[in-house]
Assembly symmetry: none
Homo-oligomer: 236 residues x 2
């Protein structure tokens, strides 16, 4: 009957510091074992286990058993989106902006399955400016605009060898803004955002750091970003 009770439930699930740490750690979209998450949560493994059960029962996480390991993962991009919007809000309401973000993490990181950080924000701006993407006008209630890949954009992506139609059958939103918690503006999310990150990792424009969401821009990536997108990376 109540639209707000589910909200309270979801919020309660995220309200415990230990659970918040777990969820944040999972935001890179990877799966972690219960023990790894117990370390992240900084609790006894029994406590962490209870937390994980709760999150899984609620449907925020999925659990996969492999041998004697249980891998936990965010159940849906929507979970990551809630967390991102909270991070954004945290920035908005803190007069003292916690600049404690390590610099590299602000520059480039993975946000669930797409690129985030300064460079991602700049990239979206550039694509809009180049006319590769145009916003599809959204209802007022929509918080994040959808974008359409223009003919120009299609040509551009095809030119660099990015198969922008891969998985086009998916019911996932194709291209949409995703609020960046360190930059406070949108970067590119959705199917296209995921394809882009895949592409850039495969081409080694970025390297993935172990055990972190941080992405390292390679020299090749720097050149390519400039050459293909006229995006000049000055200093990290």
């Amino acid at each position: 009957m109540d639209v707000d009770q589910p909200i309270a439930q979801i919020a309660a699930a995220m309200a415990e510091p230990a659970r918040a740490r777990i969820l944040c750690a999972l935001m890179d979209g990877r799966a972690y074992t219960a023990t790894e998450l117990a370390v992240v949560a900084d609790t006894a493994s029994s406590t962490a286990s209870a937390h994980l059960s709760k999150l899984t029962e609620l449907g925020l996480l999925t659990k996969v058993s492999q041998g004697r390991h249980r891998y936990f993962q965010l159940a849906d991009p929507a979970v990551a989106q809630v967390l991102e919007s909270m991070m954004h809000l945290a920035g908005v309401i803190n007069r003292v902006i916690p600049v404690s973000t390590p610099q590299p993490l602000r520059f480039a990181r993975s946000c669930y399955d797409h690129l985030a950080g300064t460079v991602a924000v700049a990239l979206l701006q550039k694509w809009l400016q180049l006319g590769w993407l145009t916003p599809i006008k959204a209802e007022a209630s929509e918080q994040q605009p959808d974008y359409q890949l223009t003919a120009l954009g299609q040509a551009g992506l095809a030119a660099i060898g990015l198969d922008y139609l891969a998985k086009a059958h998916s019911r996932r939103r194709y291209a949409c803004g995703c609020l960046d918690w360190s930059e406070r503006t949108a970067h590119l999310g959705g199917q296209l955002g995921a394809l882009l990150l895949d592409f850039m990792l495969q081409k080694q424009w970025f390297n993935r750091q172990l055990d972190s969401r941080e992405l390292q821009l390679t020299a090749l990536g720097r050149r390519q970003l400039q050459q293909q997108f006229q995006l000049i990376i000055t200093a990290e």
Copy 2:
């Protein structure tokens, strides 16, 4: 340093049902007095007052005094955004209905318009094992993989008289995993899943129970599952 502590704080603020109701009521952007919000929260005014103080201190609400009234309002659109994303998430995860499944219901039931339960999960596994279906590679983040019906699968289905191309024009996903809430793994959903259930009901492999999603495996069905799919049903 901790990027997750603010999240826990914000989430905790929204985690109390009374506060969630208040926040939802404020989502229209208008300002309400403390008494109005006490009614919404369904608590004593003293209790509501405490909630409002907490929300205001955290920075989620702003308070304006006019005469003897205090008007409360969302402090920032970012607050509404968090709530919106939570509502969206609530819709996404609402499929989870855990606990105490009556045994027959776990064995075979209909999930919308396709087969679910233990037998459906086993069937999907078998089809994958037989090479009738192959996963179309999806990102790790996608929770429900799509499947492609192989030539082998087409032959197999044609052999038993299942018209796997019926309604192929539909925009619906053709074959995809559907998370089984009693089994916690995927069974076959999508257009093909629906065709399959239709087929099996028509051939009386299963009988539909009135007023329930439960499906009853017939003796014929048991034989056919074994014969056509090498699927051995041991005991319910």
